[in-house]
Symmetry: C4
Subunit: 453 residues, 4 copies
Amino acid sequence: MGWDTYNAYGLDYNETVLKVNSQLLVDLGFRDLGYNVIILDDNMQLRQRDAKGNLQENKKNFPSGLKNISNDFHAAGLKFGVYSSAGRYTCGQVAGGLDHEVADATWWAGLGADYLKYDNCYNEGRSGTPKISYDRYAVMSKALRDTGRNITFSLCNWGDDKPWEWGGDIANSGRISGDIYDSFSRSAPQCPCGPDEYYCQLPGGGCSVMNILGKAANIAWKSQKGYWNDLDMLEVGNGGMTYDEYKTHFSMWAGVKSPLIMGNKLNKLSPQDYAILINPAVLALSQDSDGSAMVRRRRQSVDDKDEYGFGEVQVWQCGLSGGDQAVAFLNGGNNTRTITSDLIEIFGGIPTEDKAAKAWRVYDLWGDATVMSNAEAGRILNGTLLPAQASRYFNRTEMSFEEAIDRNMTSVMGTYVNTVGAFGSISAEVPRHGTALLRLRPVKSQMRKRDEL
Amino acid sequence: MGWDTYNAYGLDYNETVLKVNSQLLVDLGFRDLGYNVIILDDNMQLRQRDAKGNLQENKKNFPSGLKNISNDFHAAGLKFGVYSSAGRYTCGQVAGGLDHEVADATWWAGLGADYLKYDNCYNEGRSGTPKISYDRYAVMSKALRDTGRNITFSLCNWGDDKPWEWGGDIANSGRISGDIYDSFSRSAPQCPCGPDEYYCQLPGGGCSVMNILGKAANIAWKSQKGYWNDLDMLEVGNGGMTYDEYKTHFSMWAGVKSPLIMGNKLNKLSPQDYAILINPAVLALSQDSDGSAMVRRRRQSVDDKDEYGFGEVQVWQCGLSGGDQAVAFLNGGNNTRTITSDLIEIFGGIPTEDKAAKAWRVYDLWGDATVMSNAEAGRILNGTLLPAQASRYFNRTEMSFEEAIDRNMTSVMGTYVNTVGAFGSISAEVPRHGTALLRLRPVKSQMRKRDEL
Amino acid sequence: MGWDTYNAYGLDYNETVLKVNSQLLVDLGFRDLGYNVIILDDNMQLRQRDAKGNLQENKKNFPSGLKNISNDFHAAGLKFGVYSSAGRYTCGQVAGGLDHEVADATWWAGLGADYLKYDNCYNEGRSGTPKISYDRYAVMSKALRDTGRNITFSLCNWGDDKPWEWGGDIANSGRISGDIYDSFSRSAPQCPCGPDEYYCQLPGGGCSVMNILGKAANIAWKSQKGYWNDLDMLEVGNGGMTYDEYKTHFSMWAGVKSPLIMGNKLNKLSPQDYAILINPAVLALSQDSDGSAMVRRRRQSVDDKDEYGFGEVQVWQCGLSGGDQAVAFLNGGNNTRTITSDLIEIFGGIPTEDKAAKAWRVYDLWGDATVMSNAEAGRILNGTLLPAQASRYFNRTEMSFEEAIDRNMTSVMGTYVNTVGAFGSISAEVPRHGTALLRLRPVKSQMRKRDEL
Amino acid sequence: MGWDTYNAYGLDYNETVLKVNSQLLVDLGFRDLGYNVIILDDNMQLRQRDAKGNLQENKKNFPSGLKNISNDFHAAGLKFGVYSSAGRYTCGQVAGGLDHEVADATWWAGLGADYLKYDNCYNEGRSGTPKISYDRYAVMSKALRDTGRNITFSLCNWGDDKPWEWGGDIANSGRISGDIYDSFSRSAPQCPCGPDEYYCQLPGGGCSVMNILGKAANIAWKSQKGYWNDLDMLEVGNGGMTYDEYKTHFSMWAGVKSPLIMGNKLNKLSPQDYAILINPAVLALSQDSDGSAMVRRRRQSVDDKDEYGFGEVQVWQCGLSGGDQAVAFLNGGNNTRTITSDLIEIFGGIPTEDKAAKAWRVYDLWGDATVMSNAEAGRILNGTLLPAQASRYFNRTEMSFEEAIDRNMTSVMGTYVNTVGAFGSISAEVPRHGTALLRLRPVKSQMRKRDEL
């Protein structure tokens, strides 16, 4: 969890941008929720290396120097993230890391870097099989480890050559698609592969939320502790989607356990968008210690398509630690509808599934119990209320999500809705492009102990 | 033929599991039918190697030590099978064999291993062309041979990079798909390639019986003596399918000459499932010395789809030793139906085919003559009857299938149904998701000797 | 042009087979038409090499020894063709040439070999990119050249890794598909790629004539002098197709300039099939010095499908030396029909094409002028008439096709039908699964000399 | 921008061809518009190298010698372009550059070459992954740089192995498809991949304008300053398309920023075709300093298909320097129609897009203001009028397009049509297979300065 310059600023960011946003990460309570890494995305270094072959800072944009900026972050309890590309240049055409891995890892470690996002542009054609791509990225993985510094390694090769097969050997997360675009379902020629085409010959960019989520559906099960599928950064707050669409975007990224890296301008956040990003019940789902990613249980075409021709209802599910379950009803149709699913479908479509034969208490993660009011959110944003003073703010630094879950606290459990009996059904009214996100808890411990044999 | 821990126990098995099931392999007569290898699947070794780089036993799970367990198996006339992955880790994240092939093969040989199932997880991206995958697996093949011990090598790379093209050079069998799931036709996002997509970019798991069988259809002819397509382990006995579905599963795995490795809990077997697994007529088909795999002769979409949208009728055929033929009528529709096929279709659709111009006696391999009654099966399972005392049990150790076939014994021939004339048709009523499995024998020897020229 | 043991005899041929068929190649006039190479296909050598690593003859099948057989062929004016595989074994599991290229090429040269068919079985996974396959076959190409003997190199890797891209650098011809089957349009699971899928992940075998021809359509233009697309051997004479189907098979193989290698039993030929194979007008088209392969100009689905669901009308065309043109109207529907095409379509669909603006004399290559009567053919086959005495036999050894074409001889021109004017249409009644094969000759030389600029 | 021998002359060109066309490049004013490189395409060198391994001139075709020809070009203010293939031979089977890169680059530099078109034939199978192809072409890139001469490197590997991923590391442009054919929409078997299949296993040749444009749509965004997608040479003037089709061809090649290399006979140009090629407003769009390629915003199937079954309406857009915009309405239907699109669609389909909320002045780039009359064009072509004397000729050597744009000159702005308000629509009547090409200029500077944060 963190914040990255790219989605909102592109190549055009500087020290002021970093100062303003890092301060707001702290002041708005994001840091204490876990959003604690700031990533300086593309355009941090110059195009030319120095005489020794080392990277050079962009002193014009960062007059204080990167080391001082990094120190400031660390002093504020934040982590310092950097960016480069496993190519001759980065996508923004400054110096890339290919064939300079040791020098660059050393340089970053010297700056106190905690995180590397490593892109795929200008890769000199070193792709085409998993082996070729693995070999290219593994060099940097080793260089990072050899610095002795703990640097999170975030693969960004857009799903090329199937990183879900090999990324776990060398990295902490791996992108699965072309770059995200701030749209729910727009199709664009620069993102030519549809939502089913997880194995894509041209990942491109400009990919909508529904496009990327579709690609994630088939490979969600490849995510696990230690290596996460990365669906790209969050667009919440950038204005291209409705409130319900942003809730869907955030709910599903949390459900499939994608890294949650904000890509907005924190000084421009609306109260509604702020309330989305700090919803503790959704964050507790994202950070659940079980680490299981949601699996799609239903994909149903509907007739009420939106302006881009998209129209689907989807049902997703995953297990959570302690036997709880998470369920999402995604209404990708163009009208409000009631979505209903029975426990057999929710748990995978097998009538003999044990979990379908139990009763569950159902909690709504977007209910009143966890969503901050616009009034309170507005006051926090304008500085007249501290997060700690707000009624729906959760300070994860003071209490972990796990502990809150163990205590059955409303702030992470969500709003109780009803109880569903064995083989029963769950229904929810879901607005256009919205998502009902639910937590299910066994009525009592009915999980039979596994037979010894 | 054998038994493996994975389908029923996952990573969660131990010495007790092995003792109970190995004893039942003997007591229930499985061993004497040919099910004589026990495979300790994923989680046999620890994640860490010892100081010399050797594998380490999981002593907590196997307090007697693996060598003693292996000795016990051998003493009982059973073979000792092991598991690892051609990767840094196994799928269950204990130590894998990649780049440790000689050490590991030596270790297994020292344990008295007779069989290795070698998986594909955490392979460091060494895939993408047949050559890359071949090179990775060939190292282990050589290491096994160099131990001097005869160890069956079972490739498990899920059909990645087309093992049917190269597996025969180095191994005894090769998986063709993602892992099986205990369902007849459920589709699942983690098994994204449909039954036609034998060349799959994401083999995944959770694949249904009909999904895997479809993938086998196009590559069935690549199976031959010395190298068999492996459709993954049997789910018979695990509860996810109906009696007819399990009979289809077992019939077709036998027909396409897949290895028959049980993946159940032998102490939980129902009489019906037990009777499936010990049907001598089906096993004689599976173990036929001719080694030809069934070929699909018809694939017909039908309107009565099941709840997962699957609805197909299929006809399969292969030749057997001595001129007999095997034919399967698979009813993948949702209702009982009569399936009819004429000899021209059965033998490949060529009107000039010699075999279509002959008369054949038809035997039903699932008729009364070969299927044990529930009563008898139940008494064997509860220990009040010895297999040798039952009326439909065949002791392959006492008499080979070949000899029984030569003697025209009902126990391996099946139940005589009728005789079909030249260019005639065969019909069978087949229940929903069931299969009529037939043996055809020439009325008299009409096979013309091949022309000298 | 030649004759090969495989289609008719499989692995089961011997010295007698060779003697009978080689004698008939001479006696029936095939040799003098250009069918002058006999290929000993799979199973010529033993599975084991000798102590020095050299191939060993199969002395049981060839008691006189291969060298003597080769000498006999040469004495009879025939060429000696051999077979192996770029793998550990051949498809029939005797010793293959991989990593023994120099030894084997030397051995073959010592036997006097003139032709090598080099297969793709047991290739140790050395495939997956054009480069990997090229490297494997190029070694043998060099080894053959280094023997100093002129040995035609016939690639047989089934279209794997796109030999049409690189075969011309190292070989004389290259197979484009899985093995042919003696059927016009049957589909079979072992040939899973349809007629459009020239880039096939499982070439397989059992491919019908229409399946292979479809694959050829997109790559026909890659054939040129020095490297020909090979559509596999001829099935004419083996009984699986009708007279019209065999004429289509032969016409189209000739039209796309595939090697014409018979795969039949010459002592079992029917008069009709014999008359197909010796039609001089079709052979003159096949052997035309211009070397252009026919291009498909129309592919039209029709409603009268055959029993396998196939139903297409196709129009093909290519230029010939001297300005003549060849046109084929293929009726792949299930009923006789009249096929009509205008010159614009025939010449590529461009209204401004010069050739469409000319008048042409039309000749039928399957008319009375070139097809031998059953009576005469029968007498040749039963030895009561010498080919030289028959009225429709053409002795290419006495006069080349080129000279006959220059002399405007009916035997190679075909039967004059009519004249089509500029932008006019040609029609022909074509039986079910038959082909009208036409030669067009300019009414007078209207080909404008190319502008200097 | 330049002129190449291939489309009009194939392998059959000589010194006279070069002299006539180079003279006309000057006399007809093409050079002064930027068409200043002449490329000697396939067949410049002999098949055999000399004793030292160097290329040899084709002295028969070029009796003055290539060096003298090159000197003449340079003296006339033209650049000298050469051609070869990254293979053993060129497509026309003369000596290719593979494994002779240094020798050949040196030879070309000695001839004064300014441009290399480097093809893909006879590449010895060195393809199959981006890495393999990159490695093959990168050798020549380095060899060219090492000559010390500034030689533009034009990749011509037909889109094989995705040059848009790696071409920018080593070259100035890269072909994306098989060879162009002088037809608007004809489909041909030698160009088997449809307009969507940018990732094509057989690029082939004979590809129509709409086929190639379709392939460009998905990768247009990969073009940028320093590396351009090359849609192949222009067919304008060769007679296979109508006036409207040629205007579409030229408009779209300019819009997607393809190199504009004429492939015609300059002494055969019609007045209409000449007027297309010299339209300064379209050329100013092509050469815009912003370097953004048009993106397709709409692809709409229509019912009025043409004779080849093609029928689509397309809308394309890109930004230009200074805030102007370019828009194309392509009518690929078979009848004249009015095409209408609103600003939201034109700018990417996002309702919140700033550019949609502005007013724009609309200019027609094919209006009277920029298209030379047939009368004037005819007089220039017959030598009775100098380009400088004509009313619609723009001399780019005297004034750059940039300056003319800055001055708001009609000759580069086009004909003013009307003004469209915020969120308004633009309509244009477009003939069959024609294109309305528009420039949009903000009514006044309404582009908000980017927020500091």
